[in-house]
């Protein structure tokens, strides 16, 4: 144990204690003058403990038990944390630390209900700790419900459209939870208990039909939280209407709980080989192929929906759904390279998505709007936020200097090496769409003509810009030396039982073409240095003019005419792919709602009918015939 604990408490207990204390303390003192910094301190402590646990795990301890035991109605519930849980826990506590740091400064003071924001953030961390360290299926389900409801509490506080989005989220989350409940019960029926090892023991003698239902229920239940395609409608509005830092936390981590649970159930418990055995008869399509194609569609469709958004937050949250598809696809390739790529993408996504969301909210904090058609030219006013957003979009688009590229490269490589061309093409097409939409994001906010009303805007305060820049810095460092992040991923990969990917500080060495980011980024930076040299040495000194000294076909530019192109940014593309957005899934969802209402009206009519005795008579007669018949044959 890296540090001696007061009594037989393990580090996992300490973490749970910190998280619980944080929830209570922050709910009470959230709005106090130092409340924000208290939050950052507590989340920082949680992060420290997690890192210590990581060192512990790296030192060979298989799993860190917790002394939290619970026996209810004959069920033993235990909580232990293994490598996989630790990996996601690191993301959770890290994301919580950064969002509380963001909230500590001016942003927190401006909010009406900062106390609730702090409280719900800490509550989310606590629930995620419980979920990630679940020792058995029942513990997993209870943790899953806690996480869903904690996220609901976080979404509903903003009022207005947020309540609608939260209500819709709750319905989806509950449907997913019920599917998960059914899955656990199927396991209980087969294995006689909820324990992981009981489930593993019962796997061999499960019928394929049961395995298929188990696969469908687990994938469906956890897929809802990850917003896989048919169930993706709720995530964008829910995550973008949540206020500021909590939205960043939700985006970066909350949807990944679905991925954790999916890995835990499909990979650790059921295992790739059993899944590979599950084939659709005569077609040879495996179960993992179906899920891979769902992940592929989740990669492409939401990305091109994001392309059409005009609200910056919606654009980023739609991309969040798309990126989720990458992670799942990486893992489902089932080779060490693919799994490492998928998990690394989880880590990378958390860093750049959080930086992006925090940057967008810094813009909202200053200009009051996130509508891409109302902004423009803020680069001169908010340069630091621009830098954070720029590094974030390079990461999101998966271009070299940033870490996003490394994980996407590993996913492409894994797909190409395992000869799955169509999936890798879907991955590439997804990246292209991302590049287009992220440029639209940064152009409409920061580039182009500055509006007259935004002329007096100052840079966001340090308490907001610093977390962004640190996150972007992490993104660049792990892009420059991906080995650091890969060693973290190894913990999870080892716990998943998948062979580890041999890697060095710079990247991966493979027979079929390796990647050494130290060289790629090093040469890129060096070459940009050469470019700078050429720029400053060769040409004459540059003279900086203002934005109205611009070529406009001889026309005299002035402030009262807005000379800026941002609305409907890709008209050509919109004309081609516009008609493809028919909103099938929206209509399907609406159909379900109408079905519930119509059947509800039907039962309403039945209950209100004046002819109740007639119903009784009918049922009685049917009952008698049935009784007579059944009784007659019964023993």
């Amino acid at each position: 144990m890296p540090f001696a604990l007061p009594f037989d408490m393990t580090s996992l207990d300490l973490l749970m204690a910190i998280a619980a204390a944080a929830t209570v303390l922050l709910y009470l003192f959230g709005t106090a003058r130092l409340g924000g910094y208290l939050a950052t301190l507590l989340h920082g402590a949680a992060l420290a403990v997690t890192v210590a646990m990581g060192l512990d795990l790296a030192a060979g301890a298989g799993a860190i038990p917790s002394s939290l035991r619970l026996t209810v109605l004959g069920q033993q519930l235990a909580w232990t944390l293994d490598g996989l849980g630790w990996f996601f826990l690191l993301l959770t506590t890290g994301a919580a630390f950064f969002s509380s740091w963001y909230m500590a400064g001016e942003w927190g003071r401006v909010q009406q209900r900062a106390r609730i924001q702090h409280g719900t953030l800490a509550l989310n961390v606590l629930t995620m700790v419980l979920l990630l360290s679940a020792g058995d299926l029942l513990g997993l389900f209870i943790g899953w419900e806690f996480v869903s409801w904690a996220a609901f509490a976080m979404m509903i506080q903003a009022g207005g459209p947020a309540t609608q989005a939260a209500y819709r989220y709750m319905l989806y989350a509950l449907a997913g939870a019920m599917a998960l409940f059914a899955a656990i019960l199927v396991v209980h029926g087969a294995a006689g208990g909820f324990g992981f090892d009981q489930m593993r023991a019962a796997l061999p003698d499960m019928s394929t039909g049961m395995l298929w239902t188990l696969f469908a229920l687990f994938a469906g239940g956890f897929g809802v939280k990850m917003a896989l395609v048919p169930t993706h409608l709720w995530q964008a509005p829910a995550y973008s209407y949540t206020p500021g830092a909590s939205s960043a936390f939700l985006n970066a981590v909350s949807a990944r709980m679905g991925l954790f649970a999916l890995i835990l159930s499909l990979v650790k418990l059921i295992g790739f080989d059993t899944l590979a055995g599950l084939r659709i008869p005569m077609t040879g399509i495996e179960s993992t192929d179906i899920l891979a194609w769902v992940a592929a569609i989740t990669m492409v469709v939401p990305t091109y929906i994001a392309l059409m958004q005009t609200d910056a937050r919606m654009l980023l949250t739609w991309h969040g759904i798309g990126q989720g598809g990458y992670m799942l696809l990486g893992i489902l390739v089932a080779t060490p390279l693919g799994v490492a790529g998928g998990l690394l993408h989880v880590f990378n996504y958390a860093t750049y998505q959080m930086a992006l969301i925090l940057a967008v909210f810094a813009v909202i904090h200053r200009t009051g709007t996130a509508d891409l058609d109302e902004l423009g030219g803020l680069i001169t006013r908010m340069p630091l936020t621009y830098v954070a957003l720029l590094m974030g979009i390079i990461g999101l688009a998966g271009l070299p200097p940033m870490n996003g590229f490394v994980s996407k490269w590993m996913i492409y490589k894994a797909l190409i090496v395992t000869q799955q061309p169509l999936l890798s093409i879907a991955a590439f097409v997804g990246t292209l769409g991302t590049i287009l939409s992220v440029y639209k994001l940064i152009h409409n906010i920061f580039l182009g003509q500055l509006r007259v009303e935004h002329r007096e805007i100052r840079e966001a305060p340090w308490s907001m810009t610093l977390p962004m820049l640190v996150l972007a810095g992490i993104g660049f460092v792990t892009g420059f030396a991906p080995g650091l992040a890969l060693s973290i991923v190894d913990q999870a990969q080892a716990a998943m039982g998948v062979a580890l990917l041999p890697h060095h500080l710079g990247g991966v060495v493979l027979a079929t073409g390796s990647l050494n980011m130290l060289w790629v980024v090093g040469v890129l930076v060096g070459a940009i240095g050469v470019g700078a040299l050429i720029f400053y040495v060769l040409g004459n000194r540059r003279f900086e003019t203002h934005q109205y000294d611009n070529y406009a076909g001889g026309h005299f530019l002035s402030a009262d005419i807005r000379y800026h192109f941002s609305h409907e940014f890709y008209p050509g593309l919109a004309r081609v792919i516009g008609p493809w957005y028919r909103g099938w899934v929206v209509r399907m969802e609406h159909g379900l709602g109408v079905l519930a209402e119509v059947s509800g009206d039907l039962w309403h009519g039945v209950f209100r009918a004046a002819y109740t005795p007639l119903y009784v008579l009918i049922v009685a007669v049917l009952g008698l015939f049935w009784a007579g018949g059944a009784g007659g044959f019964g023993s």
């Binding site: 002329r455 203002h546 001889g554 002035s558």
Partner: protein, 248 residues
């Protein structure tokens, strides 16, 4: 404004590009090479104001092919070296010509095409046209003729190239050195309130082409009511008063 009579520019007396500080051998070689390349690569902005425009396509296409000597048409003033004004200049067009000229990057050259730019041509007595081009922007060369033929155009180009090669075509410096005179003429025509969004004085100061003629009576008038918008924060120009109404 008391005196509205146009001022006749005197002939530029300087014959060779002599920069302010004395040039080392290495700089002179570089300048020589730069002039050599400048002469052989000229991008032309056809400011087709009048009837002369029709003469330009033949000079560029297969019959006379100016690309042989490195001359090719360019769309925006930013990238152009030569501003070719092909015909009469109405007062309204002159505003656009001056803006285009100021948006060009020096060393830039102006070629008046046809007699209209020299002395007003057939519109010599019209109220609407400008009679002499070089009162408003410094011109490097004129091509006489009421629609001169492509050969004439080629000849003027070749002459200009020789001057550039020799490093003498520096009329553009005159615009910076005697900006006040040009501004006076322009204000005489368009009124005191008028000015282009380009901050010529700042450019002159930036590149060190500030002569005694750069600032004068007219630039003070200019300073009073022109604020170059965004680049200067409002508190830098207290005396200019609120600059909500930035430009005409």
């Amino acid at each position: 404004m008391s005196d509205t009579t146009p001022v006749i520019p005197d002939q530029p007396e300087v014959c060779r590009t002599v920069d302010a500080e004395e040039r080392g051998v290495w700089r002179r070689v570089m300048d020589r090479f730069a002039d050599h390349c400048r002469a052989r690569s000229l991008f032309v902005l056809h400011y087709c104001t009048g009837c002369g425009a029709i003469e330009l396509p033949p000079t560029i296409t297969s019959r006379f092919d100016m690309e042989r000597v490195g001359v090719s048409p360019m769309v925006t003033p930013r990238q152009a070296d030569i501003l070719l004004i092909t015909g009469y200049l109405s007062v309204k067009t002159l505003k656009r010509v001056i803006l285009s000229y100021e948006q060009m990057q020096s060393p830039k050259y102006v070629l008046g095409f046809g007699s209209c730019t020299i002395n007003g041509g057939m519109y010599w007595n019209s109220y609407a046209t400008v009679k002499r081009l070089d009162q408003y922007i410094p011109a490097d060369g004129f091509i006489a003729g009421c629609m001169p033929r492509p050969e004439a155009v080629q000849q003027v180009f070749l002459d200009l190239m020789k001057k550039i090669d020799a490093g003498q075509a520096n009329a553009w410096q005159d615009y910076y050195l005697n900006y006040d005179r040009y501004l006076g003429n322009q204000m005489a025509l368009f009124g005191e309130e008028w000015h282009t969004p380009v901050d010529v004085i700042a450019e002159a100061e930036h590149y060190g082409y500030v002569g005694d003629g750069t600032r004068g009576r007219f630039t003070e008038i200019l300073d009073r009511h022109a604020a170059y918008a965004l680049r200067d924060a409002p508190e830098d120009y207290p005396e200019r008063g609120a600059n909500e109404r930035l430009l005409p």
